[in-house]
């Protein structure tokens, strides 16, 4: 096995793409949610419920699409609980998010209990004869499963929505200064509701990706903290979609590469290698933050509760 062998590099890149996709999808949804001013810490809970329902749907009907839809719906339902608490009842967002994570882990265990030990067929990969067969780039560009392409389309869509449409501008306004946005007549709570639902849908889809396209079975707590990583990636990205994709793939890349370095037998302590993805993310964050003129770039109203005064 030659390190620079194209087949080997292709395999590594494919693994990186697969590992980064759930992070990218969940972080994209959370980015929209946070841009509207709502801090949703319940991403991990929504992801795992999405995983349980997604697997259940696919196993019951034999269709990956149905599974993905189940996952999305599950994420949206969880996010509606969150929306009811934080937007309807003006409860503290941080506490609600954390509670929802714990709730999600529990509910998913309950839902998933009946599916443990079962397996499904993994999501099919795209195959265009001719294009997919191109050595090296073929499988990377034209041989992925639908989730990978969807994650990229989603990110581009969100970028376009936030920066090129009126609605996106209003959403950003709601996140930066909800009082002014409300004074101008925009329905802040409704905007935030839609943003939260979108975030929940993405979290559910990201969670569903794990049993549908990554490892074809459901096991309780299989998200293993990916929701938290997605949250961190949104901060890493300074709430900008362009940086989000860099962050997601960077994290995915270091996660996969640390395993390869271990397999090469260089003797670097494995505990250090395991912490490398997180260290790399922090280091890159510090480096890009130094270019800032100071001050946080978070949406100014992030995490603050908004109660419209009539």
């Amino acid at each position: 096995m030659e390190l620079l062998d194209p087949k080997f590099l292709e395999s590594v890149i494919l693994s990186i793409l697969a590992a980064s996709t759930p992070l990218l999808i969940a972080a994209t949804g959370e980015l929209v949610t946070e841009r509207s001013g709502v801090l949703n810490l319940g991403v991990e809970g929504m992801m795992i419920v999405g995983a349980a329902c997604g697997f259940g749907g696919a196993w019951l009907t034999g269709s990956i699409l149905v599974g993905a839809i189940f996952g999305i719906v599950a994420g949206v339902l969880m996010s509606l609980i969150f929306a009811l608490m934080t937007l309807g009842l003006a409860v503290n967002q941080v506490a609600t998010g954390l509670a929802l994570t714990i709730l999600g882990l529990g509910i998913s265990g309950l839902i998933g209990a009946g599916f443990i030990g079962e397996r499904i067929a993994l999501a099919p990969h795209l195959y265009i004869p001719g294009l997919t067969d191109i050595p090296f780039a073929g499988r990377i560009l034209f041989g992925e499963d639908a989730f990978v392409y969807l994650s990229l389309a989603l990110l581009i869509g969100v970028w376009w929505f936030l920066y090129r449409t009126r609605a996106g501008l209003v959403l950003r306004a709601a996140g930066d200064n909800h009082v002014s946005a409300h004074a101008l007549g925009y329905p802040v709570l409704r905007i935030r509701l839609y943003a939260v639902m979108f975030g929940g849908a993405c979290a559910g889809l990201a969670g569903a990706y794990l049993p549908l396209a990554y490892t074809p079975f459901f096991i309780p707590a299989m998200t293993a903290g990916r929701g938290w990583i997605a949250l961190a990636l949104v901060v890493f990205a300074s709430w900008r979609p362009g940086r989000l994709i860099i962050g997601a793939y960077l994290f995915g890349a270091v996660t996969i590469l640390q395993l390869h370095v271990q397999a090469l037998g260089l003797g670097i302590p494995s505990q250090f290698m395991s912490s490398l993805p997180y260290l790399a993310t922090i280091i890159v964050l510090v480096l890009i933050s130094r270019a800032r003129t100071g001050g946080s770039t978070a949406p100014a109203a992030l995490g603050t509760v908004f109660v419209p005064d009539r």
Partner: protein, 357 residues
């Protein structure tokens, strides 16, 4: 007044009889590391617990706490079981060693059984399975079945329990292919299906063609199956996830041990013990040998029989470590239990450096 006294007496009698019948039932508690559905380590303990409930029916009452992380949470959970009235508590992971010891010292009347550790006390016994016997057999099979001569090993944490498994595997493989190589990845978790899948992919990408694991989910088996390579299951029979890939699996069979301990407890004869059984006592059971030619199957079965008969020791001396030094042989012609339990070196033939050394 009299009516009130009578009512009170009746209530006390009733309560007394209720608690008496509750006291008749022996309460047995279990602390699980992962979710019951992990289809691996914890799942096998749960299977044994259910066998226990079936065997003793109404005379015992079992409870379990799952997903208890090793650390301060463990101590709290064990104490919770004690306070709930459990008199015999099984803590099923290495990392529960110190918390169990602490709680054992606090409650000398409660009996504890700790799995895969090495600290014990008057009221804390330890038990373990000689999984390394199964690993040796797996090594023999892998040595024969690997075309590339490179094995892939997904380890969890670099503790003696895992190291002895790696060494036993390699010694077994070397007995049929002296030039066998192994690539080791430490997942630093007992259980993370995504990470295990990534590790399996990395090992296969780097040229390994037989995958073994010391982590608990079927992810690696599934990846091997997807890529048409071979793998060994861990803790339970994972053939469902790799019908054409699974060669065999080491199955933890705790039921007979648990039943015998509960029997002893019920008879009042429980004593602290250090139980380390393997293939012979059927604490370690091999899943049916599949996906291999008949001659390899025969070799595997013969190796198993030899270990059971005491004719073959996986760690028979001389054992040479990575640096070329011959390890002191304290058990006669094989390493003694203490040396195996404290194993912190790789045998010769493993190129990777021990993490943390």
């Amino acid at each position: 007044m009299r009516k009130k006294l009578l009512a009170a007496a009746a209530a006390v009698l009733l309560a007394g009889s209720l608690s008496a019948s509750a006291a008749d039932k022996l309460k047995v508690g279990f602390i699980y590391l992962g979710p019951v559905g992990d289809f691996g380590w914890t799942y096998q303990h749960e299977v044994a617990r259910q066998a226990l409930a079936k065997e003793f029916g109404d005379t015992i009452e079992t409870t379990y706490l799952e997903n208890v992380s090793e650390g301060p949470d463990a101590e709290r959970s064990i104490e919770q079981l004690v306070r709930a009235g459990n008199k015999l508590i099984f803590t099923t992971s290495f990392g529960y060693m110190d918390p169990t010891l602490k709680v054992a010292k606090k409650y000398p009347n409660v009996h504890f059984e700790h799995a895969t550790g090495f600290k014990h006390d008057k009221n804390m016994g330890i038990y373990n399975g000689r999984f390394y016997e199964g690993r040796y057999i797996q090594g023999v099979i892998a040595g024969k079945m690997s075309k590339a001569g490179v094995l892939g090993y997904i380890g969890s944490f670099p503790i003696p329990e895992v190291i002895m498994g790696i060494n036993a595997t390699i010694l077994g493989a070397q007995s049929v292919n002296p030039n066998i190589k192994v690539k080791i990845i430490w997942a630093n978790t007992w259980f993370d299906p995504g990470k295990e899948a990534d590790a399996a992919k990395a090992l296969l990408d780097q040229g390994a063609d037989v995958i073994m694991q010391h982590t608990d989910s079927p992810a690696a088996m599934q990846i091997a199956s997807e890529r048409g390579k071979l793998a060994f299951g861990q803790d339970s029979d994972m053939i469902k996830f790799g019908p054409k890939s699974q060669l065999t699996s080491i199955i933890d069979n705790w039921a007979p041990y648990y039943i015998s301990r509960v029997k002893a407890e019920l008879a009042g004869k429980w004593e602290t013990d250090n139980d380390w059984d393997g293939l012979k006592a059927k604490m370690v059971v091999m899943a049916p040998y599949t996906n291999m030619p008949d001659d390899v199957k025969k070799l595997a079965m013969d190796t198993e029989a030899a270990i059971v008969a005491g004719k073959l020791y996986p760690f028979k001396c001389p054992i040479v470590d990575q640096d070329g030094k011959t390890v002191d042989c304290k058990g006669g012609d094989h390493l003694d239990d203490g040396q195996v339990l404290g194993m912190n070196f790789y045998v010769k033939g493993i190129d990777d450096k021990m993490p943390g050394k």
